[in-house]
Amino acid sequence: MSPEPTNTHQATVFQAKVFVTLKPSILDPQGRTVERALAHLGQQASGVRVGKLIELQLEGERGEVETRLQDMAVNVLSNPVMEDVRWELEEAPVQGVAQAVAGA
């Protein structure tokens, strides 16, 4: 019995970033507080909103990973009642990570 080729569908590691923000219609008391604090420091800024960035690594084929990421982002990582969610997906720089660890 000859061994099956194992690397034809080699899984890729992806780095995902999920951005969760309050819907524009939702009052963001945290953002308002930050905005006031900035004003006290003489830094004028408007429309300050505080959101969340969730980073995760996913392994698989791109199409399948995108489906899983969408499911997680919409059904778990954000609450559609009051939050908007968007995400970015990139191939993880595995080499870079290994070098960083080696150099640490």
């Binding site: 008391p29 945290q30 778990v76 609450n79 009642v81 009051m82």
Partner: protein, 222 residues
């Protein structure tokens, strides 16, 4: 009557919930751990207590709403079984989809811990039959994220169907329409931010919450 009090890691009103349930409804009320995948057979009322389940990580109630026991709680609710969610329990109910809307940060960002006055909007529910419509009761609140929000259509539907059960007399947290507690469409699931289980004994200085449990007793013990 059989009462099950669900315990999540970080629940901290579970003891109060069990005590109130044993005092008023079921001397044998018991705890059920969040990793269990079933409720004790014959469970009539599921009590989701207050606290900070899973450290409020991600969103308050979000992780608890996806824990194994919640599948059994949903099935119980679908069968018409009663569910009471208080404070974090209310947050778990909205996160799990058993009640509409969501609870966000109090508008002043403060954790509020004090007695508040509530108006019982309807006595025509399984949870409020022992009160009278319009009655003002004093119940403690203790939350940082009790600001009820839902889209305008949902709020209109809740109001139109008489499913806003408790309303703040003096809104402490920014909740839309002063909403303090709401009922599911079928009337068997109640979520509320104030803590009726902390107000069931004269010894503790307040018995105004007892009516809620007496109401359920009237419905469940036939």
């Amino acid at each position: 009557m059989n009462v099950a009090v669900i315990q999540f890691p970080g629940s901290n009103c579970d003891g109060d919930a069990l005590h109130a349930a044993r005092l008023t409804l079921d001397p044998d009320a018991q705890f059920v751990w969040h990793t269990d995948d079933g409720l004790p057979s014959g469970t009539d009322l599921v009590f989701l207590p207050g606290g900070f389940s899973y450290g409020d990580h991600l969103r308050s109630g979000a992780v608890a709403a996806r824990s194994p026991i919640m599948n059994a709680v949903k099935a119980h609710a679908e069968r018409g079984g009663y569910v009471l969610g208080v404070c974090n329990g209310f947050q778990v109910l909205t996160e799990s989809g058993l009640l509409p809307g969501a609870l966000s940060r109090n508008t002043d960002l403060h954790f509020l811990c004090r007695p508040v006055h509530l108006r019982v909007e309807t006595a025509d529910t399984a949870f409020t039959g022992a009160y009278t419509a319009g009655q003002i009761i004093e119940i403690p609140i203790a939350h940082g994220e009790g600001n009820y929000y839902a889209d305008p259509e949902t709020v209109a539907r809740l109001e139109g169907d008489g499913r806003v059960v408790f309303r703040y007399v003096d809104n402490p947290n920014g909740s839309l329409n002063d909403i303090a507690g709401i009922l599911s469409e079928r009337g068997n699931v109640l979520g509320m931010m104030p803590h009726p289980e902390r107000a069931v004994e004269a010894l503790l200085g307040n018995e105004d919450g007892r009516g809620l449990f007496e109401s359920l007793k009237g419905v469940l013990v036939k």
